[in-house]
C-alpha cells in the first residue's frame, strides 16, 4: 500500500463546496418551518420593569424565561449565564425574549418595547472587582532574580477585542421529536450542545440529538455559543411543536456573540548584560465580559504562554480574568495565547535594545532547548524546536542582513518566536477521556468521531490516518457525520487537539483492527465473522502529570514552535502600515497532509495580520458600535501578502504519526512580528491593532 500520511491528498469535500452542492444550515427548509428571532437588551445593566408586545401576536410563538423546563442556564463551566434573562440584564445584547413566526417579514416587523431601571455598569476591566479566575505560576525566585539582574525593563502591552467573523453566521434548525428534540446546526462541539440542551430542557441525552451541519467557519466562535442558539431554537420548537430555524444576520452575530478577550499585560524583566533572561515577572488581565463562559481556561492558556518559548530560572505569572457589563468573551483561535505572546514578543525587542542586541540574537540566546524546563517545571523533549524554527526563518529571510539594510528606508523588518501547547491544558485530556470508533464496512472502514469538519480538513486528515494505520486505500475510508446519534464523544473540536489527540485514538484503534483482520479484506472478514466495531479511548502518555492546584507539571502534551518574519511598508502621509513580505516557519511534529497544514498556516497568519493591523471592535456604552463588515475590516486579497510557508517536522511520539497540533499556532506570531517591524521603523507601538490612528499617536507622542 503506498503511503497516505504525509501526502497532500485532495480534500474529500472540496468539489461539492466549489460547486455549491454542499448544504449548510440556512439551506434547510423542512415543512412547517417557523423562523426565530431573539429580542435583546439595549442597556448594559439594569432591572427589567416591563416587556410590551406592540404587535398583533396572532400566529407568533413567544418564549421567555418562564418557558424553560429545566435550569435556565447555558451549562458550561460556572453555569452563571442564563439562557434567557428574566428580571435583570448584565450586558447589552443579552437575550430576553424569543419570537417565532412562519413569515419572516412579519417576524422582523414585530415591535417589542422593554422598560428598564438602569444600574451603573462596569465597562473597564481595570475597575472591575468581579474576578472569574485568579492564577499564579511561580518558578525560582523572581525578587532575587530582578535584584541581581544587570538591566530591568518594564512595559505594558494591550490587545483589543477581535471578532471571529466566520463567513457563515451562527445558526441552527431545531426539530421537535416525540418527547425530545433534534438540532441541526453550525457548530464545533456537538456534545457541548447536547449537554447544554439536556440541562436547559430537563431531558436525558437519548432525547437530545445534535447533528453538525456543514459549518462555514468557527475559529472558536462556534465552540460554546451554539449552545445558546440551539437552546433558543429548541425552546421555540418545543413550545410551537414545529421546526424552528434561528439564523443570525451579520449585525446580530457581530454585536451579540463572543469575541477574543481584550488584554492588558505588564512585564518586568531582569536581564544579564549578555542578554540572558534572569527574571520574568508578568501580570495578565483579561476582560471576560458579563459571564464566566470559557474565561478561566482562556486565562490559563494565556498565563501558560506568557513568558514565550524562553528559558528563565525565575518566573512569576499572575493572571486575572474579570467581569464587566459587556457581552461575554470566549474562544477564538489561540485562546489567550495570542494576547500574552504578543506582549512577550513585543517586549523581547525592547529587551534586545536595552542590551544592544538585535532581535535574532536575543532570541537565540534564550530560546528553549530540549531538556529545558518550562515555567511549570515541564521538561521538554527532543521535539523542542524553538531554536530550529528561529534559525530556519533567519536563514530563509537573511534576517540579520536585511534588518541592518532596511533601517531608515521606510521599510521595517520584524520577527517573532512563539510556541503553542497542543491539546487541552493540564489534566483536561484525562478528564475528557475522548473516544473514537472504527466500524468495518464492505468497502473498508468508517471513522466515527464527534470531531467536526469546520474547514480545517478534519474529515480528510482522519481518513488518511485510518487508511495508513489500517493499510487500506484512502478512498475506502468513510467519515461518519458528526451526529450524536451515531458518533461517540471524541471531545470538542478546539485546542489544536483533533489531529494530535483524536487522530492518535483513531490510529491506535486502526492498529487493533488491522491485527484483528490479520490480512483478510474487510469484505472477507464481514462475511466470515459479521460486524467489527472497535472503540478506542484517550490514553495518557507516560510522564504527563499535572498539579492543578499549584500549576506544576506538564501543562500540555507537547508544544509546536513557530517563527514569523514580517516586512512592512510605511506610508508617512496616511500612517498606514502594510505587510509586503511574510515568512512563517512552523514545526508541527508531522504534517499528515502538508497542503492542509499550509492552509492552516496561511489562513491563521492572515487572521493574525487582521488582529495586528485592521480589526478593531469599537465599543460605545458597552455595545459594539461597528457591528458591520463595512466598518469592522478584515483582510482582503489586497491586504494579505503571499505567505512564504516552511513546515518543519520534529515528531511527537504520542501524536498521530508524530503530529502536534497546528490549528491555532499561526495566530500567535503575526501581531508581534508586525509590531516589531513597526518598531524597526522607529515607531513605538505597544497595542494592537496598530491602526493608522494608533501609529500616528505613537509617532506624534515621540516627537
Amino acid at each position: 500500500m503506498p503511503p497516505t500520511v504525509g501526502i497532500s491528498v485532495a480534500r474529500t469535500d472540496g468539489l461539492d463546496k466549489a460547486t455549491g452542492a454542499t448544504r449548510y444550515v440556512d439551506d434547510l427548509a423542512p415543512p412547517g418551518l417557523l423562523h426565530g428571532r431573539t429580542i435583546r437588551s439595549t442597556v448594559p445593566r439594569g432591572r427589567v420593569l416591563g416587556v410590551h408586545l406592540d404587535f398583533d401576536t396572532a400566529g407568533f410563538t413567544i418564549v421567555d424565561a418562564h418557558d424553560v423546563p429545566g435550569r435556565n442556564v447555558v451549562a458550561l463551566i460556572a453555569d452563571d449565564q442564563p439562557c434567557l434573562a428574566a428580571d435583570e440584564v448584565h450586558h447589552a445584547e443579552e437575550p430576553l425574549l424569543l419570537l417565532a413566526h412562519a413569515d419572516r417579514r412579519r417576524l422582523a416587523e414585530a415591535k417589542v418595547r422593554i422598560d428598564y431601571a438602569p444600574a451603573p455598569a462596569v465597562l473597564d476591566p481595570a475597575l472591575s472587582d468581579r474576578v472569574f479566575k485568579h492564577l499564579h505560576i511561580a518558578k525560582g525566585d523572581v525578587a532575587a532574580g530582578l535584584a541581581e539582574a544587570d538591566v530591568v525593563v518594564e512595559g505594558e502591552y494591550r490587545t483589543g477585542l477581535q471578532e471571529q467573523l466566520y463567513i457563515e453566521p451562527q445558526g441552527v434548525v431545531a426539530v421537535p421529536e416525540s418527547g425530545g428534540i433534534s438540532v441541526f446546526g453550525s457548530l464545533q462541539c456537538p456534545y457541548y450542545v447536547q449537554r447544554a440542551l439536556c440541562v436547559l430542557l430537563a431531558l436525558p441525552p437519548e432525547k437530545v440529538r445534535v447533528v453538525q451541519m456543514e459549518t462555514g467557519g468557527g475559529f472558536g466562535g462556534k465552540e460554546d455559543y451554539p449552545s445558546i442558539v440551539a437552546g433558543h431554537a429548541a425552546l421555540l420548537a418545543l413550545k410551537s411543536g414545529r421546526p424552528v430555524k434561528l439564523v443570525y444576520d451579520r449585525a446580530e452575530d457581530m454585536a451579540a456573540t463572543t469575541k477574543r478577550h481584550p488584554s492588558i499585560v505588564r512585564h518586568r524583566t531582569g536581564l544579564a548584560r549578555d542578554g540572558r533572561l534572569v527574571a520574568m515577572d508578568v501580570e495578565v488581565l483579561l476582560d471576560g465580559g458579563a459571564y464566566t463562559t470559557l474565561s478561566p481556561v482562556v486565562l490559563s492558556r494565556g498565563c501558560l504562554h506568557a513568558t514565550g518559548p524562553y528559558r528563565c530560572a525565575n518566573v512569576r505569572v499572575d493572571g486575572r480574568v474579570v467581569g464587566t457589563n459587556t457581552p461575554p468573551n470566549g474562544a477564538f483561535r489561540g485562546f489567550g495565547a495570542p494576547q500574552t505572546l504578543f506582549a512577550v514578543e513585543a517586549h523581547m525587542d525592547r529587551l534586545a535594545e536595552a542590551v544592544g542586541l538585535d532581535p535574532l540574537t536575543i532570541r537565540e540566546r534564550n530560546a528553549l532547548r530540549p531538556g529545558d524546563t518550562t515555567t511549570t517545571g515541564q521538561v521538554l523533549g527532543e521535539d523542542c524546536s524553538a531554536l530550529d524554527v528561529l534559525q530556519a526563518a533567519a536563514a530563509r529571510t537573511q534576517f540579520r542582513e536585511r534588518w541592518a539594510r532596511l533601517r531608515g528606508t521606510g521599510r521595517g523588518l520584524g520577527l517573532s518566536l512563539v510556541f503553542h501547547g497542543a491539546g487541552f491544558t493540564g489534566s483536561g485530556e484525562v478528564k475528557l477521556a475522548s473516544r473514537a470508533t472504527l466500524a468495518l464496512t464492505p468497502a473498508g472502514v468508517q471513522v466515527r468521531v464527534a470531531s467536526t469538519e469546520i474547514g480545517q480538513g478534519t474529515r480528510t486528515m482522519l481518513a488518511q490516518i485510518a487508511a495508513e494505520a489500517l493499510g487500506v486505500p484512502f478512498e475506502t475510508v468513510d467519515v461518519a457525520p458528526a451526529d450524536t446519534a451515531i458518533v461517540p464523544d471524541s471531545g470538542p473540536t478546539v485546542a489544536s487537539r483533533t489531529c494530535m489527540i483524536v487522530g492518535r485514538i483513531v490510529e491506535r484503534c486502526a492498529e487493533r483492527m488491522k491485527a484483528t483482520l490479520a490480512g483478510r479484506t474487510p469484505a472477507d472478514y464481514l462475511a466470515a465473522h459479521g460486524d467489527l466495531v472497535l472503540t478506542g479511548q484517550y490514553e495518557r502518555p507516560p510522564g504527563l502529570d499535572w498539579d492543578e492546584e499549584h500549576y506544576r507539571g506538564a501543562a500540555y502534551g507537547c508544544y509546536g514552535y513557530a517563527c514569523d518574519v514580517a516586512e512592512v511598508a510605511f506610508d508617512p502621509d496616511t500612517y498606514e502600515v502594510r505587510p509586503v513580505a511574510f515568512t512563517s516557519v512552523h514545526e508541527v511534529g508531522r504534517a499528515i497532509n502538508p497542503a492542509l497544514v499550509r492552509g492552516q498556516i496561511e489562513g491563521g497568519t492572515v487572521q493574525g495580520l487582521g488582529f495586528a493591523l485592521l480589526e478593531e471592535v469599537v465599543v460605545a456604552g458597552g455595545r459594539m458600535a461597528n457591528a458591520q463588515m463595512t466598518n469592522y475590516v478584515v483582510p482582503t486579497t489586497l491586504d494579505a501578502p503571499p505567505i512564504d510557508v516552511v513546515i518543519l517536522e520534529r515528531p511527537y511520539p504520542h501524536g498521530a504519526f508524530g503530529a502536534k497540533g497546528v490549528g491555532e499556532m499561526p495566530m500567535d506570531g503575526p501581531a508581534p512580528a508586525i509590531v516589531n517591524a513597526i518598531r524597526h521603523l522607529g515607531i513605538d507601538v505597544r497595542e494592537v491593532p496598530a491602526t493608522p490612528e494608533r501609529v500616528m499617536e505613537a509617532l506624534c507622542g515621540s516627537r
Binding site: A10, R11, D13, G14, L15, D16, K17, A18, T19, G20, A21, T22, R23, Y24, D26, D27, A29, Q164, L165, Y166, I167, E168, P169, E214, T215, G216, G217, G218, F219, D249, R250, I454, G455, Q456, G457, A595, L596, R598, G599, E602, G603, G604, T605, V606, Q607, Q628, M629, T630, V634, P635, T636, T637, L638, A640, P642, I643, V645
Partner: protein, 157 residues
C-alpha cells in the same frame, strides 16, 4: 417579471424590491448562493448579471428583469471548480461559490496583481487567500489565451 436564470427563462411574482439573493435561494431553491453579510461586503452571494459579478444581496429582483442571471449552479466552470478543490482554495466552503463565480470572469491574461484585485470584493476567513490565488493561477495556466466563455472546455479538462 421574467428573466433568464442559468440559461432558462423564468418568471417570478416576488415584490420588485425583493433581494435577488432571496429569489434564487427561496423561490428557485438554488442554495449554492450564500448570504454572509447582507450588506455587499463579503461576496458570498456573488452571481453574474449579464456576465458581470454582482452581490445578489444588494440587487432588487426588479433589476434582473429581462436580463441573464447565472448562479454557481449554472456556471460551466468545472476546471476552475476542480482547481479550487485541489489547490487549497476550499476550506469551510461558505465563501467558495462566490469566489468561483467572481473568478470565472477573470481573463486568462490577467496578472497576479489583477487577479487579487478582481477578487478583492470576496472575503475568505479560512485560507488567507493563498490557496485561492493558486487555484486561479492553476486554472489560468491550463486555459487557452483566448478563453472560450465556457471554461469547462478548457485544456485542463
Amino acid at each position: 417579471m421574467r428573466f433568464t436564470l442559468n440559461g432558462r427563462e423564468v418568471g417570478t411574482t416576488a415584490h420588485p424590491m425583493t433581494r435577488l439573493l432571496d429569489v434564487v435561494r427561496e423561490e428557485f431553491g438554488l442554495t449554492g448562493t450564500k448570504e454572509g453579510c447582507g450588506e455587499g461586503e463579503c461576496g458570498a452571494c456573488t452571481v453574474l448579471l449579464d456576465g458581470l459579478p454582482v452581490n445578489a444581496c444588494l440587487v432588487p429582483v426588479a433589476h434582473a428583469s429581462g436580463r441573464e442571471v447565472t448562479t454557481i449552479e449554472g456556471l460551466a466552470a468545472h476546471a476552475l471548480q476542480r482547481a479550487f478543490a485541489s489547490e487549497g482554495g476550499v476550506q469551510c466552503g461558505i465563501c467558495t461559490p462566490g469566489f468561483v463565480v467572481a473568478a470565472s470572469t477573470i481573463p486568462a491574461d490577467a496578472t497576479d496583481d489583477e487577479v487579487r484585485e478582481r477578487l478583492a470584493g470576496n472575503i475568505c476567513r479560512c485560507t488567507g487567500y493563498g490557496g485561492i490565488c493558486r487555484a486561479v493561477a492553476a486554472w489560468r495556466a491550463g486555459r487557452p489565451r483566448t478563453a472560450p466563455a465556457d471554461a469547462g472546455s478548457s485544456a485542463t479538462e
